[in-house]
Amino acid sequence: MKEKAVFSENTKENIYHCIKCGLCMAHCPVYKEVLSEEATPRGKVQLSRQLSEGNLKMSKEVKNAFFSTCLLCGACVSNCPSGVHGSNLYSGVRWRAVQKYGMDWKKKVMFQLLAKKWRMSKSASLGKWARKMFGGKWIESRMNAGALNVARIPKVNEKEFSDMVPEVTKPEGKARAKVLYFHGCATNYLYAGIGTAVVDVLKKMGVEVITPREQTCCGMPIFMSGDREASIQNIRENLRLFAREDIDAVVCDCATCSDGLKKEYPHLLLDLRQLGEDVTDEELKAAELLAKKVKDVTVFIDEHKDWLPAMKENGKKVRVTYHDPCHLVQGQKITAQPRNILKAIPGVEYVEMPGAGDCCGGGGSFQVEHAETSRKITKRKVDNIHSTKAQILATCCPGCTLTISNHLDPSLNMRVMHPVQLLQMALSGK
């Protein structure tokens, strides 16, 4: 039986621009720990080429290489001088690998739940299920949480964030803009405080915030894990809800979500169409439109910082450092805006950490499945954070928040927060 084509034509052509210079190695967090060619982006690009040319057959070994030695952090993509888009290749191989060998059952259950809209699972309370899954005795005994310390995973929100927030939040004072708010799964289930802060701050800036109830997972974790069929459902659903001309922006509080919405949707749809999937022109157009509108919430706030009400000093100073999530710094080249916000807060003493742009090692399920590598990468990060003697680590990605907070030295009582949460505190005089 002939194996299915791994890549669409435009993705395939990109492979040939890898001149094997190897500079990607310098930016790959996994390679720094594993130190074999398998772990290099170059290695995976070359394997992609072999697969695509039929010189290498899909095997469990290949599957393992593409899952276990890549965080999909995107550092290789943003640092490739030749413009090779490795992530597209890796996710393509993961897709075919999963088609052939299937996906880990735990992941599958999880993704199925994420893929089906939250509204469907509301009464059954995914929240409770998830709490059991991550926090219960059963799970501690049965499930290997890899590099994560299960006891230190935060408690699941009492109520899903989507149930807490009104569909439309009217601005305080003069209405200056209207935005759609895409909050990720993490805010929905784990970090409702981030969601509340985003809505609160935007409201105070005079922005009307619409939070569509029916929104669902951005699809990226599913897509990255190789289940393109499942992720396409999410993509379609989100395009329907968010690709709107009549709003000023779609704001996101999660680096991975915004990166996905902005960069992966258009590419993925085009790719699937070239591989014979049924993708309409309208959908492609909608994806382009959404890509234009999506903004990380810190970018939106920084662009309109003059809308912020004055913040008063209350004499208290708190030392804060900032970690660049890969999907912001690599994927979207966003580094200044979150820092601008932090530095503008009167009570914040900002300190830059060494290696702020280095990956935290989490990579979603990577830390669970490839604990040893993940742990080493996280250790570098955490050491750098501690070297700043900061009391608060700010970051714009709930994934990084989960990973880093899990590994911080407990005796230091550090907190990990979204910059907007700190902004909210400052605006309310705390």
Partner: protein, 463 residues
């Protein structure tokens, strides 16, 4: 020996976790940054000298060929296993063993990444001078194998000027210490002949390097020209005026365009040439020296001069220069890079000939080079899937080698002969010269265990 047996034996010798032998793994070590591909029979990733020695002894006793490999950024096919055998990948021997500031030495394992060492030294205010463009990925072992250069070699010399000794694993697994932290050890300059031997004489498992205190002041400037001839003439004029800056680098229009696309440095895409000139040393008199250089540039109709204001601006200029090869990968899928070197006074003439060769074969050529050293890097752009184009590329590359030789130059300044230029050795060496080199090879490696088929053409025939 059968591959399976080989893997089994190696597993027993150094442990399963350090031996790779599946088809997929082998495909991962069949290439480097050159155009050559060839598969090893298996791969080992040792973590100690003892393991390297065991593997080499095993290979030698069983007539298996051995090749040492670092990050695989070689540009001449030097790290390709031409005749199968065991690829010894040294990336996991990546410890900085000793920082000896008092004696201005550092002792490293071969797998240490060059830039990592430099960053480490910078914390202490010290420098390791060689700076190949691949330094953020390449290993010191590889730099030593190829005698790597880099922009700053104009003033500070190449890798071999900074390697004072180390530990070698010989062809039969025997371990020997050569040179040392002290200078002038009595005897032949074994480090001198070993550095740049492209892995054909032995494996250096420990290297003693010279470090020096950071310069007091650095000044980096970018001079933009409307004609490549004027850029080249400026280089000759600066040297002829008795100024040897720390670097004198040049990029042509095609390279400028690619670099700008990759790094967004604000380079003018219509410029014909850019010179990157850096001065370092004591701050006193640097201003006057800068003005002397700028005057020379002006005499050669420089269009614009940008002087870096701080370290961040300097870093940006160098990131663009060091990523230039990769950036050129945007233009066409492949390039063949040549690194012929000519006496620096012959640079403008050679460059004109290279451009003519590109025209003759209808191939785009991007030029980015160490102008101060006379070290060219014409990058011939093509697509390896086009057989006719590939043929023309090889013909053009050979012609460029010949031009460099005819100009009184040499066919490789810093990338090595490897496989890609082995047929060009006769352009610059007589058979007597080659016989002499061959004696060195046989003295170090009598049974031809190490990196067969590289550097010396005669050995290729007999191997």
């Amino acid at each position: 020996m059968e591959k399976e047996k080989m893997v089994k034996e190696l597993n027993r010798l150094i442990g399963k976790e350090s031996v790779l032998g599946t088809d997929m793994q082998i495909q991962l070590y069949e290439y480097d940054a050159s155009l050559i591909r060839s598969k090893p029979d298996c791969i080992v990733l040792p973590t100690s000298t003892e393991q390297v020695s065991k593997v080499v002894k095993f290979a030698h006793d069983n007539g298996i060929r051995v090749i040492a490999r670092g990050a695989g950024t070689n540009l001449s096919g030097g790290s390709i296993s031409l005749q199968g055998g065991i690829a010894i990948v040294l990336t996991r021997m990546n410890n900085i063993l000793e920082l000896d500031i008092e004696n201005q030495r550092v002792v490293v394992q071969p797998g240490v990444i060059t830039l990592n060492l430099k960053n480490f030294l910078a914390k202490h205010g010290y420098l390791y001078q060689p700076d190949p463009a691949s330094e953020k990925a390449s290993t010191l072992g590889g730099n030593i194998g190829e005698n790597s250069g880099g922009p700053h070699c104009l003033k500070y010399g190449v890798t071999s000027n900074h390697v004072l000794g180390g530990e070698l694993v010989l062809y039969n697994g025997e371990v020997v210490q050569i040179g040392g932290k002290a200078l002038d050890n009595p005897g032949y300059d074994l480090s001198g002949v070993f550095v740049g031997s492209e892995g054909t004489l032995g494996i250096m498992t420990k290297a003693i390097l010279r470090i020096m205190p950071k310069a007091e002041a650095v000044k980096t400037m970018m001079c933009i020209f409307n004609s490549i001839e004027e850029g080249g003439d400026t280089v000759s004029a600066i040297i002829a005026d008795g100024i040897i800056p720390a670097t004198l680098e040049m990029m042509d229009n095609l390279t400028i365009k690619a670099v700008e696309e990759a790094y967004n440095m604000g380079l003018p895409k219509d410029a014909a040439a850019i010179l990157i000139i850096e001065l370092d040393g004591l701050s006193d008199g640097m201003e006057r020296l800068t003005n002397r250089i700028l005057d020379i540039c002006k005499k050669h109709h420089v269009r614009e001069i940008r002087v870096a204001k701080d370290q961040a601006e300097r870093d940006k200029i160098w990131a663009g220069r060091k990523g230039a090869f990769g950036a050129v990968g945007r233009l066409r899928p492949n390039y063949m890079v040549n690194d012929g070197t000519v006496p620096r006074t012959k640079l403008p003439e050679t460059l004109a000939k290279v451009i003519a060769i590109g025209k003759k074969y209808n191939l785009p050529i991007a030029n980015v080079f160490h102008a101060g050293d006379g070290n060219l890097h014409p990058l011939i752009l093509f697509d390896e899937r086009d057989a006719d184009e590939l043929k023309r590329v090889h013909a053009a590359a050979n012609e460029i080698l010949k031009v460099c030789a005819d100009m009184g130059g040499t066919i490789s300044g810093e990338h090595g002969i490897g496989v890609e230029k082995i047929h060009g050795m006769q352009l610059i060496c007589s058979s007597q010269d080659l016989a002499s080199m061959r004696n060195v090879k046989v003295a170090f490696d009598p049974d031809g265990t190490y990196n067969p088929g590289k550097v010396l053409p005669e050995l290729q025939k007999t191997a």
